[in-house]
């Protein structure tokens, strides 16, 4: 199957050297996307975290020990593994901008997509969401709540994209070519160190265009050819190597390719 080409390709570039692992992006994401707090979040098989910060370690001790933090949203792959396995087309990559959609009422909860996604970016609702008393009044109108039995994932705060287009129309701009910064997901907006940049990776006027092509830029598991729209930047070689998951074998990462 040939991957669909888009004029606008929303992408995220995360500078792992700037990320302090504070978790503000995770919190902002949960608020924006109406993810109910769990009564017992210790079972990580059942938590929902569209944005998840991983801790990376260079596995050295003493003065040489180093850690890095890696925020992981949905990669919005150019050639997604989750889309072709969905038996009901509840997930699709079809809209200008290249964001992989997930339609909850259509999802039958078979979780093929979860098995297919190598980034573990998809989550299954094992229970109906329970919001603490009063919190249901503070839910965000941007995202619909999901019932038990469906899969959900990050969608780059898609409603913000729609709102940015509406604002462009109101102000006489072109909704198909938004200026840099007009559309910003909650995680990128809140990041206190500015580690997360967001924009159209195909538009030269957007900051991410250059960031994504920098010499220290890489993507996770590029060898799989899924062509993710999320890029990472780190000056540290051991971090870059971990991105391709070759660390265990000691072999170098696959040749860097950019769309």
């Amino acid at each position: 199957m040939k991957a669909k080409e888009f004029k606008v390709t929303w992408g995220m570039v995360v500078d792992l050297d700037k990320c302090t692992g504070c978790g503000a992006c995770m919190t902002a994401c949960q608020v924006e996307n109406n993810i109910a707090p769990m009564v017992d979040a210790s079972n990580k098989m059942r938590t929902l975290s569209w944005m998840l910060v991983y801790e990376l370690s260079n596995k050295k001790s003493g003065a040489e020990a180093e850690v890095a933090y890696l925020p992981r949203p949905c990669m919005q792959c150019g050639n997604p593994a989750c889309v072709p396995v969905c038996p009901v087309i509840a997930t699709d990559k079809n809209e200008e901008g290249g964001i992989v959609s997930q339609i909850y009422p259509r999802c039958i909860g078979c979780r093929y997509c979860m098995a297919a996604c190598p980034y573990h970016a998809r989550y299954f609702n094992w229970e109906d969401p329970v919001f603490p008393k009063g919190m249901e009044k503070a839910l965000s109108p941007s995202t619909s709540t999901r019932p038990r039995g469906v899969v959900e994932k990050c969608n780059f705060c898609h409603t913000r994209f729609m709102q940015a287009k509406d604002k462009a129309r109101q102000e006489g701009g072109n909704p198909e070519s938004l200026p840099d910064g007009a559309y910003m997901p909650a995680c990128a907006e809140i990041c206190p160190t500015g580690a997360i940049s967001f924009g159209d990776v195909k538009n030269k006027e957007h900051k991410v265009f250059e960031l994504a092509q920098g010499k220290d830029a890489f993507r996770l598991l590029e060898k799989l050819g899924l062509n993710p729209q999320v890029y990472y930047v780190s000056k540290r070689e051991w971090v870059r190597k971990l991105g391709d998951n070759y660390a265990a074998t000691g072999k170098p990462g696959a040749a860097k390719k950019h769309s």
Binding site: N94, E95, S101, R106, K165, D166, R169, Q170
Partner: protein
């Protein structure tokens, strides 16, 4: 053996002849009509509850004053749609009773002066997982999608689906999709869903 079969066959045919009175066109017709009434009249009546607007708002009177739809149903500065006007907007004219219509008196005395917003019923509310942009559809006339209330003195009855809680008059997904297809607009899921 053959004889036994023939006897049996004869009995069957005999029974069939006796039964002729219970079949035929008339019972079928009665059953058909009953089914049609049940399916087209009784069931829809059961499925939808009828509700009337809390205030008998006349769009017609307002339109006759030369007001446009957009005079009250406005966009916000960020391009989002404010939808129904609130008391603040209505009270620009109706802080006190200005006409002779009893419905206006009800509005002013029971809502405006008490600082209570009117719980209007919205014929077109969409489910939670729909993102509809009025801004993107601005080039259409309101009445192409909405009930043409501008010519109505009494707001139409609101039909609420007892099972889903949604309005009967709201736009259905196939209608959205057909118009998008006819106009060459994308029907990708995320164009409308959130």
């Amino acid at each position: 053996m053959d004889q036994k079969l023939q006897e049996l066959w004869g009995e069957v045919m005999e029974e069939k002849k006796q039964c002729k009175g219970c079949g035929g066109a008339l019972p079928f017709l009665i059953g058909f009509v009953a089914a049609v009434i049940a399916g087209w009249v009784l069931f829809p009546n059961l499925l939808y509850s009828k509700k009337v607007q809390p205030v008998r708002f006349s769009h017609k009177v307002h339109q006759e004053q030369g007001m446009e739809c957009a005079s009250c149903h406005t966009f916000r500065d960020d391009g989002s749609y404010a939808g129904l006007p609130n008391n603040e907007k209505c009270m620009e004219c109706h802080a006190d009773v200005v006409g002779s219509d009893p419905a206006e008196k009800i509005y002013v005395e029971q809502y405006a002066q008490k600082g209570k917003e009117v719980p209007w019923l919205v014929y077109q509310y969409q489910p939670d997982n729909v993102y509809f942009s009025h801004k993107a559809h601005e080039s259409f006339e309101c009445k192409e999608c909405h009930l043409e209330v501008g010519k109505m003195d009494t707001p139409p009855v609101y039909y609420e689906n007892r099972l889903s809680g949604y309005s009967k008059q709201t736009m259905k997904m196939w209608q959205c999709e057909r118009c998008h297809a006819e106009n060459g607009v994308s029907n990708a899921c995320h164009v409308c869903h959130k």
